[in-house]
């Protein structure tokens, strides 16, 4: 899982010190151009989805039928119903029109509109990924700050080592291990935590229900945090290292501030910027993690829905969830650009 680190580099470097005085010029203009770019990207996603899903080897109707016995007349009827007897260009405009109206088609597996299915599954994913993200970012920032401030110390070496290991661990394997140790139990030691689904079969009501869901969330959440927090740690650490050698830190020390205050009031707020952006920038990585984690722990979220679409395979569902996930990621990235621009005057001047 090394790619995210490289990709994060430009953002960090972009925050390099600018010599010129910051010019307050056209934040709105900048935001508009970013939004324009995002709309273009979203349009490209829709177009690409259409063509990629038409690359399917074989006849889509036969793929859908999956070996069920259908007469040629039935096949034709099905083809007509799906609009596959029209010319490609008409199919394309139908597809674009439907997508823009948020009509993502009907799932073959569930016989229900894809949008409804997504609506049902989005809550658990937001709960799991959101909780995981908050914990991962807090933990990463805290540990990264400590490691970077005592750079080269024992805690620093320990942190860098741990994050390198976690970086190299495949998410699903870590999930399997945690499930085996804490869910199933090894030998005489019984498992203590539930590892299937979001609630028990005989789930109680009220407050006890919340506890039930929370206990189901521990293992999936732990897996997600373990895999994604390393990148926040490493970026926080390296951006803090850049700040430590800046003049204003020396000034703060010269003023006689305590070490703790220099860190909390001066260095950390500046070093936080790249990390905050990273939270939005790497949301696609979090989504990828969510797919595997939800699959292992049968968490009834969007990631698991996407996984089901792949194994069945249910192409309408796959296409719908893919577009939704991608568009959400594009929106998050655009937000990151705009927020970064607002927060950091050095980028604004560039």
């Amino acid at each position: 899982m090394t790619a995210p680190l490289e990709a994060a580099e430009p953002a960090v470097q972009a925050a390099g010190p600018g010599d010129e005085r910051p010019v307050r010029r056209g934040t709105l203009q900048y935001a508009l151009s970013k939004v324009g770019g995002a709309l273009f990207s979203i349009a490209m996603v829709i177009v690409a989805t259409f063509f990629v899903f038409r690359l399917l080897p074989g006849d889509p109707v036969r793929n859908l039928a999956q070996g069920r016995n259908m007469t040629p007349a039935q096949l034709d009827l099905e083809r007509h119903r799906l609009g596959l007897d029209k010319p490609l260009i008409n199919q394309f405009f139908d597809f674009v029109g439907n997508t823009l109206r948020l009509d993502l088609g009907t799932s073959y597996e569930y016989k229900r509109p894809v949008l409804d299915l997504i609506g049902e599954r989005i809550g658990p994913t937001l709960l799991l990924a959101g909780t995981g993200l908050v914990i991962a970012v807090s933990l990463g920032v805290w540990q990264g700050t400590r490691a970077g401030w005592r750079h080269g110390g024992r805690f620093d070496r320990f942190s860098t080592g741990t994050s390198l290991v976690l970086w190299s661990v495949p998410t699903f394997w870590l999930g399997l291990l945690l499930m085996m140790v804490f869910g199933v139990g090894i030998g005489p030691i019984p498992g203590v935590l539930p590892f299937r689904g979001i609630e028990s079969v005989d789930a109680p009501d009220g407050f006890a229900y919340l506890l039930d869901v929370a206990s189901h969330m521990v293992l999936p959440c732990l897996t997600m945090v373990a895999v994604i927090y390393a990148q926040y740690l490493l970026v926080m650490r390296s951006s803090l290292l850049e700040e430590v050698s800046q003049d204003y830190v020396t000034v703060a020390r010269a003023k006689g501030l305590r070490d703790d205050e220099v860190r909390r009031r001066h260095a950390v707020p500046n070093a936080l910027l790249p990390t905050v952006t990273l939270v939005f920038m790497r949301i696609g990585f979090v989504v990828g993690g969510a797919v595997t984690v939800e699959t292992i722990y049968t968490w009834p979220g969007l990631g698991q829905l996407f996984y089901e679409a792949i194994v069945v395979p249910d192409f309408t569902l796959m296409q719908g969830t893919f577009m939704l996930i991608t568009v959400a990621v594009i929106i998050m990235n655009t937000l990151a650009d705009v927020v970064y621009h607002l927060l950091d005057p050095r980028v604004r001047s560039a």
Binding site: M1, T2, A3, E6, A7, E9, P10, G37, S41, M44, V45, V52, F53, L55, L56, P57, L164, V165, W167, S168, V169, P170, T171, F172, W173, L176, L177, M179, M180, G183, V184, I186, G187, S238, L241, E242, G284, F285, V287, G288, G289, V291, T292, T295, I296, F306, Y307, I310, V311, P313, F315, M318, F322, I325, T326, V329, I330, N333
Partner: protein
């Protein structure tokens, strides 16, 4: 090439090796990496595809580690040790080839975007940014699911979704190299686009390419195992498909910890080795990073 240039290159190489040797972690990674590659390459001298056969599996089902089977057996009595060894061939092959595809696309797009100006550069960067923002794991899953999970499609799916970071890195490097005076001299002497990019830019960015290839192999191995685990890969034995099997046959509930632990450890060790080597290479090549680490 004149002998002066050859000597200079030899000298640079030995200086590079001296620098690299100072990174103990990188050196350890290199040793593991070379050992893993040698084991994978020479595996056919000792074992063959029969170690993955369910029909004449040598051992008892789900038996724990013993002298005959140091890492136990799986649901049909096959040796985990031999399967991990044989599976390393698929995992490493896909890792290397996917990294190669990714790096070659990234290199061509990055150097072109840095070398040419105007609309071509703008279009290339637009495309790069578009691919960069796509969630790579999700996209690779879709591509592999649609095109079928042969080794070739898995390689392409990983390559196509991971090249943009290389392209951005190389564009920045190309811009930096082309700002140097000797490029102007070369242009004045009549050097064309091909000459400048292949004779001046490429040799300058080659070391950095090596570092990012190493890191790319690491992430490609992890991605391959994830794709295989999620069931979009064909049935060829790799570390990912083995873990898939352990999940499908309920190794956790069977108490067969070795079935889950060993293939995953193989991934972890090899990926760590590549990551350590890649980071050491980066540190040697990039003095800006050398301070920080």
């Amino acid at each position: 090439m004149t002998s002066v240039a050859a000597a200079r290159r030899r000298q640079a190489l030995s200086r590079f090796w001296a620098d690299f040797r100072r990174h103990r972690a990188g050196l350890a990674g290199l040793v593991v990496l070379v050992a893993a590659v040698l084991l994978a390459v020479f595996a056919p001298l000792f074992i063959d595809d029969s170690v993955t056969s369910v029909v004449d599996a040598p051992g008892e089902e789900w038996s724990g580690p013993s002298l005959a089977f140091p890492f136990g057996t799986d649901e049909s009595g096959r040796s985990i040790l031999l399967m991990v060894w044989w599976g390393s061939r698929t995992s490493l092959l896909i890792g290397f080839l996917a990294a190669l595809v990714s790096i070659v696309i990234g290199m061509v797009v990055g150097i072109a975007a840095g070398h040419f100006r105007g609309w071509l550069s703008a279009v290339l960067m637009r495309v790069t940014d578009w691919f960069l923002v796509l969630p790579s794991m999700v996209t690779a899953l879709v591509l592999a699911a649609i095109l079928g999970g042969s080794t070739f499609t898995i390689i392409m799916a990983i390559g196509i979704t991971t090249w943009p970071s290389t392209a951005r890195l190389l564009r920045a490097q190309t811009l930096a190299v082309e700002a140097r005076p000797y490029i102007e001299r070369s242009k004045a002497l009549g050097g064309g686009h091909w000459h400048i990019t292949t004779r001046h830019v490429l040799p300058n960015v080659a070391p950095l390419l090596l570092a990012s290839t190493t890191l790319e192999v690491a992430s490609a191995i992890v991605t391959e195992s994830t794709l295989a685990f999620l069931g979009v890969s064909s049935n060829k034995t790799s570390w990912g498909t083995m873990l898939r099997g352990s999940y499908d046959y309920g190794a956790a509930t069977q108490g067969a910890w070795w079935y889950i632990l060993i293939p995953g450890l193989a991934i972890l060790v090899v990926v760590m080795a590549f990551t350590l080597v890649g980071r050491a290479l980066e540190a040697v090549l990039n003095p800006r990073l050398r301070k920080a680490t």
